[in-house]
Protein backbone atom coordinates (compact mmCIF):
# COMPACT_ATOMS: atom_id res chain seq x y z
CA UNK A 1 0.00 0.00 0.00
CA UNK A 2 1.56 3.25 -1.10
CA UNK A 3 0.64 5.25 1.95
CA UNK A 4 3.48 7.68 1.73
CA UNK A 5 3.38 8.58 -1.92
CA UNK A 6 1.20 11.58 -2.34
CA UNK A 7 3.16 14.64 -3.32
CA UNK A 8 2.98 14.26 -7.07
CA UNK A 9 -0.52 15.64 -7.45
CA UNK A 10 -0.72 19.39 -7.86
CA UNK A 11 -3.19 19.99 -5.10
CA UNK A 12 -4.22 23.58 -4.62
CA UNK A 13 -5.86 23.05 -1.28
CA UNK A 14 -4.50 24.15 2.09
CA UNK A 15 -1.41 22.32 3.29
CA UNK A 16 -1.06 21.97 7.03
CA UNK A 17 1.91 20.70 9.00
CA UNK A 18 1.51 19.17 12.44
CA UNK A 19 4.51 18.89 14.74
CA UNK A 20 4.04 15.92 17.03
CA UNK A 21 2.52 12.49 16.38
CA UNK A 22 0.70 11.92 19.64
CA UNK A 23 -3.03 12.24 20.47
CA UNK A 24 -3.06 16.03 20.00
CA UNK A 25 -1.43 15.80 16.57
CA UNK A 26 -3.67 12.99 15.36
CA UNK A 27 -6.90 14.46 16.65
CA UNK A 28 -6.08 17.85 15.12
CA UNK A 29 -5.33 16.13 11.82
CA UNK A 30 -8.54 14.11 11.98
CA UNK A 31 -10.67 17.20 12.40
CA UNK A 32 -8.88 19.15 9.66
CA UNK A 33 -9.25 16.36 7.14
CA UNK A 34 -12.93 16.02 7.94
CA UNK A 35 -13.69 19.73 7.77
CA UNK A 36 -11.89 20.48 4.48
CA UNK A 37 -12.03 18.01 1.62
CA UNK A 38 -9.14 19.84 -0.05
CA UNK A 39 -6.79 19.95 2.94
CA UNK A 40 -3.58 17.92 3.02
CA UNK A 41 -2.07 17.27 6.45
CA UNK A 42 1.48 16.12 7.23
CA UNK A 43 2.47 14.93 10.69
CA UNK A 44 6.13 15.11 11.78
CA UNK A 45 7.21 13.08 14.79
CA UNK A 46 10.63 12.95 16.45
CA UNK A 47 10.56 9.25 17.23
CA UNK A 48 10.42 6.65 14.45
CA UNK A 49 7.15 5.42 15.98
CA UNK A 50 3.88 7.33 16.34
CA UNK A 51 1.25 7.81 19.07
CA UNK A 52 3.20 9.60 21.78
CA UNK A 53 1.91 9.08 25.30
CA UNK A 54 -0.72 6.60 24.17
CA UNK A 55 2.20 4.30 23.51
CA UNK A 56 4.65 5.53 26.13
CA UNK A 57 2.46 6.91 28.90
CA UNK A 58 -0.69 4.79 29.22
CA UNK A 59 -0.01 1.92 31.62
CA UNK A 60 0.53 -1.58 30.15
CA UNK A 61 -2.46 -2.92 32.07
CA UNK A 62 -4.78 -0.34 30.47
CA UNK A 63 -4.91 -1.73 26.93
CA UNK A 64 -8.48 -0.48 26.27
CA UNK A 65 -7.32 3.09 26.64
CA UNK A 66 -4.94 2.37 23.74
CA UNK A 67 -7.81 1.41 21.40
CA UNK A 68 -7.67 5.00 20.24
CA UNK A 69 -4.62 3.93 18.19
CA UNK A 70 -7.07 2.39 15.71
CA UNK A 71 -8.63 5.80 15.07
CA UNK A 72 -5.19 7.37 14.70
CA UNK A 73 -4.14 4.64 12.28
CA UNK A 74 -7.16 5.40 10.11
CA UNK A 75 -6.18 9.07 10.09
CA UNK A 76 -2.59 8.29 9.15
CA UNK A 77 -3.77 6.04 6.33
CA UNK A 78 -6.08 8.74 4.94
CA UNK A 79 -5.08 9.64 1.40
CA UNK A 80 -4.63 13.29 2.30
CA UNK A 81 -2.53 12.61 5.36
CA UNK A 82 1.05 11.49 5.68
CA UNK A 83 3.17 10.64 8.68
CA UNK A 84 6.92 11.32 8.83
CA UNK A 85 8.71 9.72 11.79
CA UNK A 86 12.27 10.21 13.00
CA UNK A 87 12.20 13.92 12.16
CA UNK A 88 13.41 16.23 14.91
CA UNK A 89 11.72 19.59 14.38
CA UNK A 90 13.99 22.29 15.71
CA UNK A 91 17.11 20.34 14.82
CA UNK A 92 16.58 18.54 11.46
CA UNK A 93 14.27 21.24 10.16
CA UNK A 94 13.31 24.61 11.61
CA UNK A 95 9.87 26.02 12.29
CA UNK A 96 10.55 28.81 9.81
CA UNK A 97 11.32 26.27 7.08
CA UNK A 98 8.04 24.51 7.87
CA UNK A 99 6.12 27.78 7.81
CA UNK A 100 7.52 28.51 4.38
CA UNK A 101 6.45 25.14 3.05
CA UNK A 102 2.95 25.05 4.58
CA UNK A 103 -0.04 27.39 4.88
CA UNK A 104 -0.28 26.62 8.58
CA UNK A 105 1.80 24.84 11.20
CA UNK A 106 0.28 23.31 14.34
CA UNK A 107 2.51 22.62 17.35
CA UNK A 108 1.33 19.46 19.13
CA UNK A 109 4.59 18.30 20.61
CA UNK A 110 3.42 17.85 24.17
CA UNK A 111 5.52 17.91 27.32
CA UNK A 112 8.72 15.92 27.31
CA UNK A 113 10.31 17.44 30.39
CA UNK A 114 9.31 17.14 34.01
CA UNK A 115 8.97 19.54 36.88
CA UNK A 116 11.74 19.10 39.39
CA UNK A 117 11.11 19.08 43.13
CA UNK A 118 13.89 21.64 43.62
CA UNK A 119 15.18 20.01 46.81
CA UNK A 120 18.65 18.90 47.95
CA UNK A 121 19.49 15.29 47.17
CA UNK A 122 17.17 15.16 44.20
CA UNK A 123 19.97 13.94 41.97
CA UNK A 124 21.01 11.04 44.21
CA UNK A 125 20.74 7.53 42.76
CA UNK A 126 17.40 6.05 43.65
CA UNK A 127 15.42 9.19 42.78
CA UNK A 128 13.51 9.16 39.48
CA UNK A 129 10.93 11.29 37.77
CA UNK A 130 7.67 9.45 37.15
CA UNK A 131 8.05 10.39 33.49
CA UNK A 132 11.29 8.41 33.28
CA UNK A 133 9.98 5.51 35.35
CA UNK A 134 6.88 5.23 33.17
CA UNK A 135 9.07 5.61 30.06
CA UNK A 136 11.20 2.74 31.37
CA UNK A 137 8.39 0.22 31.72
CA UNK A 138 6.74 1.46 28.55
CA UNK A 139 9.79 1.13 26.33
CA UNK A 140 10.66 4.76 25.62
CA UNK A 141 14.08 4.46 23.94
CA UNK A 142 15.70 7.22 26.01
CA UNK A 143 14.74 5.44 29.27
CA UNK A 144 15.91 1.95 28.42
CA UNK A 145 19.06 2.21 30.57
CA UNK A 146 17.22 3.44 33.67
CA UNK A 147 17.85 0.26 35.71
CA UNK A 148 15.89 1.32 38.79
CA UNK A 149 17.00 -0.53 41.90
CA UNK A 150 13.94 -2.35 43.23
CA UNK A 151 15.64 -4.07 46.13
CA UNK A 152 14.22 -1.81 48.84
CA UNK A 153 11.11 -2.44 50.85
CA UNK A 154 9.62 1.04 50.74
CA UNK A 155 9.04 3.34 47.79
CA UNK A 156 7.77 6.90 48.16
CA UNK A 157 5.96 8.63 45.31
CA UNK A 158 5.55 12.41 45.48
CA UNK A 159 2.33 13.53 43.80
CA UNK A 160 -1.12 11.95 43.77
CA UNK A 161 -2.29 12.21 40.18
CA UNK A 162 -3.11 9.34 37.87
CA UNK A 163 0.54 8.95 36.87
CA UNK A 164 1.52 8.48 40.55
CA UNK A 165 -1.17 5.86 40.99
CA UNK A 166 -0.12 4.09 37.80
CA UNK A 167 3.44 3.85 39.11
CA UNK A 168 2.24 2.55 42.49
CA UNK A 169 0.06 -0.03 40.81
CA UNK A 170 2.80 -1.26 38.50
CA UNK A 171 5.18 -1.53 41.48
CA UNK A 172 2.74 -3.61 43.52
CA UNK A 173 0.76 -5.55 40.92
CA UNK A 174 1.25 -9.30 40.86
CA UNK A 175 3.45 -10.26 37.92
CA UNK A 176 0.61 -12.42 36.54
CA UNK A 177 -1.32 -9.23 35.87
CA UNK A 178 1.51 -7.79 33.80
CA UNK A 179 3.11 -10.67 31.98
CA UNK A 180 0.75 -10.71 29.00
CA UNK A 181 0.73 -6.95 28.50
CA UNK A 182 3.04 -4.81 26.36
CA UNK A 183 5.28 -3.94 29.31
CA UNK A 184 8.93 -4.27 28.30
CA UNK A 185 10.56 -7.58 29.08
CA UNK A 186 13.36 -6.05 31.14
CA UNK A 187 10.85 -4.12 33.26
CA UNK A 188 8.80 -7.27 33.73
CA UNK A 189 11.85 -9.21 34.88
CA UNK A 190 12.94 -6.40 37.21
CA UNK A 191 9.45 -6.24 38.74
CA UNK A 192 9.33 -10.01 39.11
CA UNK A 193 12.47 -9.76 41.25
CA UNK A 194 11.36 -6.62 43.07
CA UNK A 195 11.56 -6.43 46.87
CA UNK A 196 9.28 -3.38 47.05
CA UNK A 197 6.44 -4.16 49.43
CA UNK A 198 5.22 -0.78 50.59
CA UNK A 199 4.40 2.26 48.49
CA UNK A 200 3.46 5.63 49.97
CA UNK A 201 1.84 8.19 47.69
CA UNK A 202 2.39 11.66 49.12
CA UNK A 203 0.46 14.88 48.45
CA UNK A 204 0.89 18.47 49.62
CA UNK A 205 -2.74 19.09 50.35
CA UNK A 206 -5.67 17.09 51.69
CA UNK A 207 -7.97 14.27 50.59
CA UNK A 208 -10.40 16.71 48.97
CA UNK A 209 -7.66 18.02 46.69
CA UNK A 210 -6.35 14.66 45.45
CA UNK A 211 -5.73 14.85 41.72
CA UNK A 212 -6.23 11.25 40.67
CA UNK A 213 -9.53 9.92 39.31
CA UNK A 214 -11.73 7.22 40.75
CA UNK A 215 -10.88 4.52 38.24
CA UNK A 216 -7.21 4.51 39.24
CA UNK A 217 -7.99 4.69 42.95
CA UNK A 218 -10.39 1.78 42.65
CA UNK A 219 -7.69 -0.27 40.96
CA UNK A 220 -5.41 0.31 43.97
CA UNK A 221 -8.18 -0.64 46.39
CA UNK A 222 -8.85 -3.84 44.43
CA UNK A 223 -5.22 -4.79 43.89
CA UNK A 224 -4.76 -8.46 44.86
CA UNK A 225 -2.59 -9.31 47.86
CA UNK A 226 -2.31 -5.71 49.01
CA UNK A 227 -3.89 -3.72 51.79
CA UNK A 228 -4.49 0.01 52.23
CA UNK A 229 -2.49 1.72 54.96
CA UNK A 230 -3.96 5.18 55.56
CA UNK A 231 -3.75 7.62 58.46
CA UNK A 232 -7.25 8.29 59.86
CA UNK A 233 -5.96 11.62 61.19
CA UNK A 234 -5.52 12.83 57.61
CA UNK A 235 -9.27 12.40 57.11
CA UNK A 236 -10.58 14.49 59.97
CA UNK A 237 -13.62 16.51 58.96
CA UNK A 238 -13.89 14.84 55.57
CA UNK A 239 -17.03 12.81 56.29
CA UNK A 240 -18.92 15.99 57.16
CA UNK A 241 -17.87 17.70 53.93
CA UNK A 242 -19.13 14.85 51.71
CA UNK A 243 -22.70 15.97 51.24
CA UNK A 244 -21.77 19.27 49.60
CA UNK A 245 -19.38 17.83 47.07
CA UNK A 246 -20.12 17.53 43.36
CA UNK A 247 -20.68 13.93 42.26
CA UNK A 248 -17.21 13.02 40.92
CA UNK A 249 -15.39 14.41 43.98
CA UNK A 250 -17.97 12.85 46.30
CA UNK A 251 -17.64 9.34 44.85
CA UNK A 252 -13.85 9.59 44.90
CA UNK A 253 -13.81 10.75 48.53
CA UNK A 254 -16.28 8.05 49.57
CA UNK A 255 -14.00 5.42 48.07
CA UNK A 256 -11.04 6.80 50.00
CA UNK A 257 -13.05 6.80 53.24
CA UNK A 258 -14.00 3.20 52.59
CA UNK A 259 -10.33 2.29 52.16
CA UNK A 260 -9.49 4.05 55.43
CA UNK A 261 -12.21 2.17 57.26
CA UNK A 262 -11.74 -1.26 55.77
CA UNK A 263 -7.98 -1.29 55.28
CA UNK A 264 -7.96 -4.66 53.65
CA UNK A 265 -6.59 -8.10 54.30
CA UNK A 266 -4.12 -7.97 57.20
CA UNK A 267 -2.34 -11.00 55.83
CA UNK A 268 -1.60 -9.17 52.58
CA UNK A 269 2.07 -9.11 51.79
CA UNK A 270 2.10 -5.68 50.23
CA UNK A 271 0.62 -2.35 51.21
CA UNK A 272 0.04 1.07 49.76
CA UNK A 273 -1.04 4.27 51.44
CA UNK A 274 -1.94 7.85 50.70
CA UNK A 275 -0.18 10.47 52.81
CA UNK A 276 -1.57 13.99 52.87
CA UNK A 277 -0.39 17.45 53.98
CA UNK A 278 3.24 16.58 53.28
CA UNK A 279 5.79 18.25 50.98
CA UNK A 280 9.29 16.91 50.25
CA UNK A 281 12.10 19.14 51.55
CA UNK A 282 15.18 16.92 51.24
CA UNK A 283 16.25 13.55 49.95
CA UNK A 284 18.37 11.94 52.65
CA UNK A 285 21.44 9.98 51.65
CA UNK A 286 22.40 6.70 53.28
CA UNK A 287 25.39 6.26 55.58
CA UNK A 288 27.68 5.82 52.60
CA UNK A 289 26.39 9.11 51.13
CA UNK A 290 26.13 7.35 47.78
CA UNK A 291 22.40 6.92 47.26
CA UNK A 292 18.97 7.90 48.57
CA UNK A 293 17.95 6.16 51.79
CA UNK A 294 15.07 8.32 52.93
CA UNK A 295 13.07 11.45 52.40
CA UNK A 296 12.36 14.36 54.71
CA UNK A 297 8.79 15.67 54.52
CA UNK A 298 7.43 18.96 55.84
CA UNK A 299 3.96 18.87 57.36
CA UNK A 300 1.45 21.37 55.98
CA UNK A 301 -1.82 22.89 56.98
CA UNK A 302 -4.45 24.11 54.55
CA UNK A 303 -5.38 27.76 54.07
CA UNK A 304 -8.16 29.10 51.92
CA UNK A 305 -11.14 27.17 50.66
CA UNK A 306 -12.76 25.70 47.59
CA UNK A 307 -10.62 25.69 44.48
CA UNK A 308 -7.93 27.91 45.96
CA UNK A 309 -6.98 25.80 48.98
CA UNK A 310 -3.23 26.01 49.47
CA UNK A 311 -0.73 24.24 51.63
CA UNK A 312 1.24 26.27 54.16
CA UNK A 313 4.20 24.98 56.16
CA UNK A 314 3.82 24.35 59.86
CA UNK A 315 7.50 23.83 60.61
CA UNK A 316 7.06 20.18 61.59
CA UNK A 317 9.12 17.57 59.78
CA UNK A 318 8.88 13.83 59.25
CA UNK A 319 11.50 11.43 57.90
CA UNK A 320 10.56 8.31 55.95
CA UNK A 321 13.05 5.53 55.24
CA UNK A 322 12.90 4.45 51.62
CA UNK A 323 15.18 3.36 48.82
CA UNK A 324 13.11 4.35 45.82
CA UNK A 325 11.76 7.86 45.37
CA UNK A 326 9.62 8.79 42.41
CA UNK A 327 8.68 12.37 41.78
CA UNK A 328 5.32 12.58 40.01
CA UNK A 329 4.59 16.30 40.22
CA UNK A 330 3.95 17.03 36.58
CA UNK A 331 5.34 16.94 33.08
CA UNK A 332 6.63 20.14 31.48
CA UNK A 333 6.83 21.41 27.91
CA UNK A 334 10.08 22.85 26.62
CA UNK A 335 10.71 25.39 23.84
CA UNK A 336 11.20 23.77 20.44
CA UNK A 337 12.67 26.56 18.34
CA UNK A 338 13.80 30.13 19.07
CA UNK A 339 11.33 31.36 16.46
CA UNK A 340 8.40 30.20 18.60
CA UNK A 341 7.21 32.29 21.59
CA UNK A 342 7.38 30.39 24.88
CA UNK A 343 6.11 31.23 28.35
CA UNK A 344 8.72 29.79 30.74
CA UNK A 345 6.62 30.37 33.84
CA UNK A 346 3.65 28.34 32.65
CA UNK A 347 5.84 26.22 30.34
CA UNK A 348 3.45 26.50 27.40
CA UNK A 349 3.40 28.24 24.06
CA UNK A 350 1.41 31.45 24.67
CA UNK A 351 -1.76 31.38 22.63
CA UNK A 352 -5.33 32.61 22.25
CA UNK A 353 -7.64 29.63 21.71
CA UNK A 354 -4.88 27.81 19.88
CA UNK A 355 -3.56 30.71 17.80
CA UNK A 356 0.07 31.26 18.81
CA UNK A 357 0.55 34.81 20.07
CA UNK A 358 1.86 37.33 17.55
CA UNK A 359 2.60 34.65 14.97
CA UNK A 360 0.22 34.31 12.05
CA UNK A 361 -0.13 30.83 10.62
CA UNK A 362 1.15 29.14 13.78
CA UNK A 363 -1.18 27.19 16.05
CA UNK A 364 -0.95 24.77 18.93
CA UNK A 365 -2.97 21.95 20.45
CA UNK A 366 -2.71 19.54 23.36
CA UNK A 367 -0.43 19.85 26.37
CA UNK A 368 1.91 22.39 24.79
CA UNK A 369 -1.12 24.68 24.51
CA UNK A 370 -2.92 24.16 27.82
CA UNK A 371 -0.37 22.58 30.14
CA UNK A 372 0.22 18.92 30.94
CA UNK A 373 -3.04 17.84 32.56
CA UNK A 374 -6.01 15.84 31.43
CA UNK A 375 -6.74 12.50 29.82
CA UNK A 376 -6.94 11.63 26.13
CA UNK A 377 -10.53 12.90 25.93
CA UNK A 378 -9.46 16.32 27.21
CA UNK A 379 -6.74 16.54 24.58
CA UNK A 380 -9.21 15.36 21.97
CA UNK A 381 -11.66 18.19 22.69
CA UNK A 382 -8.83 20.67 22.80
CA UNK A 383 -7.41 19.50 19.47
CA UNK A 384 -10.82 19.71 17.85
CA UNK A 385 -11.03 23.29 19.12
CA UNK A 386 -7.69 24.24 17.56
CA UNK A 387 -8.67 22.61 14.28
CA UNK A 388 -11.93 24.56 14.23
CA UNK A 389 -10.11 27.80 14.88
CA UNK A 390 -7.69 27.04 12.06
CA UNK A 391 -10.54 26.25 9.67
CA UNK A 392 -12.27 29.49 10.72
CA UNK A 393 -9.10 31.41 9.90
CA UNK A 394 -8.88 29.73 6.51
CA UNK A 395 -12.45 30.62 5.71
CA UNK A 396 -12.10 34.17 6.99
CA UNK A 397 -9.11 34.73 4.72
CA UNK A 398 -6.66 35.15 7.60
CA UNK A 399 -4.43 32.55 5.95
CA UNK A 400 -3.50 33.27 2.35
CA UNK A 401 -4.53 30.08 0.61
CA UNK A 402 -4.07 31.58 -2.85
CA UNK A 403 -0.33 31.10 -2.49
CA UNK A 404 0.74 27.63 -3.56
CA UNK A 405 2.77 25.89 -0.88
CA UNK A 406 5.02 22.89 -1.67
CA UNK A 407 4.32 21.02 1.59
CA UNK A 408 5.92 17.63 2.18
CA UNK A 409 7.70 17.58 -1.19
CA UNK A 410 9.94 20.46 -0.20
CA UNK A 411 10.49 19.29 3.37
CA UNK A 412 11.31 15.68 2.55
CA UNK A 413 13.77 16.85 -0.11
CA UNK A 414 15.41 19.09 2.49
CA UNK A 415 15.55 16.27 5.03
CA UNK A 416 17.13 13.94 2.52
CA UNK A 417 19.92 16.40 1.80
CA UNK A 418 20.50 16.55 5.54
CA UNK A 419 20.78 12.77 5.82
CA UNK A 420 17.62 12.33 7.91
CA UNK A 421 16.21 8.81 7.65
CA UNK A 422 12.45 9.32 7.74
CA UNK A 423 9.98 6.63 8.73
CA UNK A 424 6.73 6.58 6.78
CA UNK A 425 3.56 5.12 8.22
CA UNK A 426 3.79 1.98 6.13
CA UNK A 427 7.26 1.49 7.59
CA UNK A 428 5.91 1.94 11.13
CA UNK A 429 3.51 -0.85 10.22
CA UNK A 430 6.50 -3.12 9.64
CA UNK A 431 7.95 -2.13 13.01
CA UNK A 432 4.52 -2.78 14.51
CA UNK A 433 4.32 -6.24 12.94
CA UNK A 434 7.78 -7.09 14.23
CA UNK A 435 6.85 -6.00 17.78
CA UNK A 436 3.69 -8.10 17.69
CA UNK A 437 5.64 -11.08 16.38
CA UNK A 438 8.24 -10.81 19.14
CA UNK A 439 5.50 -10.35 21.71
CA UNK A 440 3.72 -13.46 20.51
CA UNK A 441 6.77 -15.61 21.14
CA UNK A 442 6.86 -14.29 24.71
CA UNK A 443 3.12 -14.64 25.31
CA UNK A 444 2.67 -10.89 25.34
CA UNK A 445 0.62 -8.35 23.40
CA UNK A 446 3.84 -6.98 21.90
CA UNK A 447 7.51 -6.62 22.69
CA UNK A 448 8.47 -3.04 21.94
CA UNK A 449 11.67 -2.28 20.12
CA UNK A 450 13.82 -0.19 22.42
CA UNK A 451 16.46 0.95 20.03
CA UNK A 452 15.98 3.68 17.43
CA UNK A 453 18.64 2.16 15.16
CA UNK A 454 16.90 -1.19 15.29
CA UNK A 455 13.59 0.48 14.40
CA UNK A 456 15.25 2.12 11.42
CA UNK A 457 16.68 -1.20 10.26
CA UNK A 458 13.34 -3.01 10.55
CA UNK A 459 11.52 -0.37 8.54
CA UNK A 460 13.39 -1.42 5.44
CA UNK A 461 12.83 -5.13 5.85
CA UNK A 462 10.65 -6.50 3.14
CA UNK A 463 8.06 -8.84 4.57
CA UNK A 464 7.82 -11.66 2.09
CA UNK A 465 5.75 -14.00 4.18
CA UNK A 466 2.29 -12.85 5.19
CA UNK A 467 0.58 -14.74 7.99
Amino acid sequence: MLTGVRGLSSSSGPRVCIVGGGPAGFYTAQQLLKARQDAAVDIYERLPVPFGLVRFGVAPDHPEVKNVINTFTQTAQHERCSFHGNVNVGKDVTIDELRQAYHAVVLSYGAEGNRSMGIPGEDLPGVFSAKDFVGWYNGLPSNKELHPDLSFETAVILGQGNVALDVARILLAPVEMLKETDITQNALEALAGSKVRRVLIVGRRGPLQIACTIKELREMVNLPNTRADMLPADFEGIAEALKDLPRPRKRLTELMMKAVKEGGDDKAEKCWGLRFFRSPVEVLAGADEKRAAGIRLALNKLEGSGESVRAEVTGQLEDVDCGLIISSIGYKSIPIDPAVPFDPRRAIVPNEMGRVQDTAGLYCSGWVKRGPTGVIATTMNDSFDTARVLIQDMEAGKLDLSVNKPGAQAITALLQTRGVRMVLFSQWEKINAEEEKRGKSLGKAREKLLDVDEMLKIRNVFISIFF
Partner: protein, 180 residues
Protein backbone atom coordinates in the same frame (compact mmCIF):
# COMPACT_ATOMS: atom_id res chain seq x y z
CA UNK B 1 -44.58 -6.37 0.22
CA UNK B 2 -47.34 -3.81 0.15
CA UNK B 3 -48.98 -5.36 3.18
CA UNK B 4 -45.65 -5.27 4.96
CA UNK B 5 -45.25 -1.58 4.29
CA UNK B 6 -48.84 -0.93 5.20
CA UNK B 7 -48.52 -2.63 8.53
CA UNK B 8 -45.31 -0.76 9.25
CA UNK B 9 -47.01 2.52 8.53
CA UNK B 10 -49.91 1.38 10.60
CA UNK B 11 -47.72 0.69 13.59
CA UNK B 12 -46.35 4.20 13.89
CA UNK B 13 -49.76 5.58 13.11
CA UNK B 14 -51.27 3.46 15.81
CA UNK B 15 -48.71 4.48 18.35
CA UNK B 16 -49.69 8.08 17.89
CA UNK B 17 -53.33 7.21 17.44
CA UNK B 18 -53.76 5.31 20.66
CA UNK B 19 -53.01 8.42 22.64
CA UNK B 20 -55.90 10.17 20.98
CA UNK B 21 -58.62 7.57 20.60
CA UNK B 22 -59.36 4.20 22.10
CA UNK B 23 -61.77 3.21 19.36
CA UNK B 24 -60.48 -0.04 17.88
CA UNK B 25 -62.87 -0.02 14.96
CA UNK B 26 -61.07 2.83 13.24
CA UNK B 27 -57.61 1.39 13.73
CA UNK B 28 -55.91 -0.01 10.60
CA UNK B 29 -54.35 -2.88 12.53
CA UNK B 30 -57.75 -4.02 13.69
CA UNK B 31 -59.10 -3.67 10.20
CA UNK B 32 -56.21 -5.63 8.71
CA UNK B 33 -56.81 -8.24 11.38
CA UNK B 34 -53.28 -8.01 12.71
CA UNK B 35 -54.01 -6.31 16.01
CA UNK B 36 -52.13 -7.86 18.90
CA UNK B 37 -53.95 -5.93 21.57
CA UNK B 38 -50.86 -3.95 22.36
CA UNK B 39 -52.80 -0.72 22.05
CA UNK B 40 -54.94 -1.76 24.98
CA UNK B 41 -52.17 -1.13 27.46
CA UNK B 42 -50.86 1.84 25.48
CA UNK B 43 -47.58 0.42 24.21
CA UNK B 44 -46.03 0.95 27.58
CA UNK B 45 -45.06 -2.53 28.66
CA UNK B 46 -42.93 -5.06 26.83
CA UNK B 47 -44.99 -8.00 28.05
CA UNK B 48 -48.01 -7.42 25.95
CA UNK B 49 -50.77 -9.72 25.13
CA UNK B 50 -49.44 -11.51 22.12
CA UNK B 51 -51.53 -13.32 19.53
CA UNK B 52 -51.13 -17.05 19.34
CA UNK B 53 -49.24 -16.84 16.07
CA UNK B 54 -46.56 -14.36 17.15
CA UNK B 55 -44.27 -13.85 14.21
CA UNK B 56 -43.26 -11.28 11.69
CA UNK B 57 -45.93 -8.85 12.81
CA UNK B 58 -44.52 -8.79 16.27
CA UNK B 59 -41.10 -8.25 14.82
CA UNK B 60 -42.44 -5.26 12.95
CA UNK B 61 -44.32 -3.86 15.88
CA UNK B 62 -41.60 -4.20 18.46
CA UNK B 63 -38.26 -4.12 16.70
CA UNK B 64 -38.35 -0.57 15.38
CA UNK B 65 -37.02 2.05 17.79
CA UNK B 66 -36.99 5.71 16.81
CA UNK B 67 -34.20 7.76 18.33
CA UNK B 68 -33.41 11.44 17.92
CA UNK B 69 -29.84 12.71 18.22
CA UNK B 70 -29.39 16.38 18.99
CA UNK B 71 -25.94 17.41 17.87
CA UNK B 72 -23.68 20.07 19.32
CA UNK B 73 -25.20 22.81 17.20
CA UNK B 74 -28.70 21.91 18.38
CA UNK B 75 -29.72 20.24 15.15
CA UNK B 76 -32.20 17.35 15.53
CA UNK B 77 -31.30 14.20 13.64
CA UNK B 78 -34.04 11.56 13.79
CA UNK B 79 -32.77 8.06 13.28
CA UNK B 80 -34.59 4.76 12.73
CA UNK B 81 -33.04 1.94 14.70
CA UNK B 82 -33.84 -1.53 15.92
CA UNK B 83 -34.15 -3.25 19.27
CA UNK B 84 -30.68 -4.40 20.28
CA UNK B 85 -28.79 -1.60 18.52
CA UNK B 86 -25.96 0.08 20.39
CA UNK B 87 -26.51 3.85 20.60
CA UNK B 88 -22.86 4.71 19.89
CA UNK B 89 -22.66 2.48 16.82
CA UNK B 90 -25.94 3.96 15.69
CA UNK B 91 -24.47 7.44 16.01
CA UNK B 92 -21.43 6.46 13.95
CA UNK B 93 -23.62 4.90 11.29
CA UNK B 94 -25.39 8.22 10.90
CA UNK B 95 -22.32 10.44 11.05
CA UNK B 96 -23.14 11.89 14.47
CA UNK B 97 -20.06 13.41 16.12
CA UNK B 98 -19.58 11.00 19.00
CA UNK B 99 -15.98 9.87 19.16
CA UNK B 100 -15.92 6.63 21.14
CA UNK B 101 -12.13 6.67 21.53
CA UNK B 102 -11.87 3.49 23.60
CA UNK B 103 -14.27 1.56 21.35
CA UNK B 104 -16.94 0.88 23.95
CA UNK B 105 -14.63 -0.58 26.58
CA UNK B 106 -15.48 1.85 29.42
CA UNK B 107 -12.04 3.46 29.33
CA UNK B 108 -12.99 6.99 28.26
CA UNK B 109 -15.91 9.40 28.33
CA UNK B 110 -15.96 10.61 24.75
CA UNK B 111 -19.35 9.06 23.95
CA UNK B 112 -21.06 11.02 26.74
CA UNK B 113 -24.68 12.01 26.00
CA UNK B 114 -27.66 13.44 27.85
CA UNK B 115 -30.71 11.16 27.77
CA UNK B 116 -34.25 12.59 27.60
CA UNK B 117 -35.55 12.37 31.16
CA UNK B 118 -38.53 10.07 30.59
CA UNK B 119 -36.25 7.54 28.89
CA UNK B 120 -33.38 7.92 31.33
CA UNK B 121 -35.53 6.17 33.94
CA UNK B 122 -36.03 3.23 31.61
CA UNK B 123 -32.34 2.51 31.18
CA UNK B 124 -30.78 -0.14 33.40
CA UNK B 125 -28.59 1.24 36.21
CA UNK B 126 -25.05 2.01 35.07
CA UNK B 127 -22.41 -0.38 36.33
CA UNK B 128 -19.74 1.06 38.61
CA UNK B 129 -17.17 1.27 35.80
CA UNK B 130 -19.51 3.40 33.71
CA UNK B 131 -20.14 5.73 36.66
CA UNK B 132 -16.39 6.03 37.18
CA UNK B 133 -15.89 7.10 33.56
CA UNK B 134 -18.90 9.45 33.65
CA UNK B 135 -17.28 11.22 36.59
CA UNK B 136 -14.57 12.36 34.19
CA UNK B 137 -16.94 13.74 31.56
CA UNK B 138 -17.12 17.52 31.35
CA UNK B 139 -20.55 19.05 32.06
CA UNK B 140 -21.91 16.02 33.80
CA UNK B 141 -25.67 16.16 34.42
CA UNK B 142 -28.26 14.05 36.22
CA UNK B 143 -29.28 12.50 32.91
CA UNK B 144 -25.77 11.76 31.62
CA UNK B 145 -24.89 8.32 30.26
CA UNK B 146 -22.20 6.82 28.07
CA UNK B 147 -23.89 6.02 24.79
CA UNK B 148 -21.71 2.93 24.22
CA UNK B 149 -23.60 1.35 27.11
CA UNK B 150 -27.09 2.12 25.80
CA UNK B 151 -28.73 -0.86 24.09
CA UNK B 152 -32.07 -0.05 22.48
CA UNK B 153 -35.20 -1.67 23.80
CA UNK B 154 -38.80 -1.05 22.64
CA UNK B 155 -39.54 1.23 25.58
CA UNK B 156 -36.75 3.59 24.49
CA UNK B 157 -38.70 4.50 21.39
CA UNK B 158 -38.69 8.26 21.03
CA UNK B 159 -35.55 8.68 23.14
CA UNK B 160 -33.57 11.86 22.54
CA UNK B 161 -29.81 11.81 22.98
CA UNK B 162 -28.20 15.23 23.23
CA UNK B 163 -24.50 15.77 22.68
CA UNK B 164 -22.92 17.95 25.37
CA UNK B 165 -21.40 21.22 24.24
CA UNK B 166 -17.89 20.56 25.48
CA UNK B 167 -15.70 22.73 23.38
CA UNK B 168 -13.84 25.67 24.82
CA UNK B 169 -14.86 27.83 21.89
CA UNK B 170 -18.35 27.64 23.22
CA UNK B 171 -17.36 29.48 26.37
CA UNK B 172 -17.18 33.03 25.11
CA UNK B 173 -16.65 34.31 28.62
CA UNK B 174 -13.32 32.49 28.77
CA UNK B 175 -14.51 29.85 31.25
CA UNK B 176 -12.01 27.01 31.44
CA UNK B 177 -13.37 23.50 31.98
CA UNK B 178 -11.77 21.72 34.95
CA UNK B 179 -8.87 19.40 34.15
CA UNK B 180 -9.63 15.67 34.27
Amino acid sequence: MAAFTAVRAAVSFTQRFVRVSRDCSVCPLYRLNVCTGAAVDGFSAPNRRLPKRAGWVDLLLYSRVNVVFIDRSGQRIPVKARVGDNALHLAHKHGIELEGACEASLACSTCHVYVSSEHYEKLPEPEEREDDMLDMAPMLQENSRLSCQIILTPELDGMELTLPKVTRNFYVDGHVPKPH
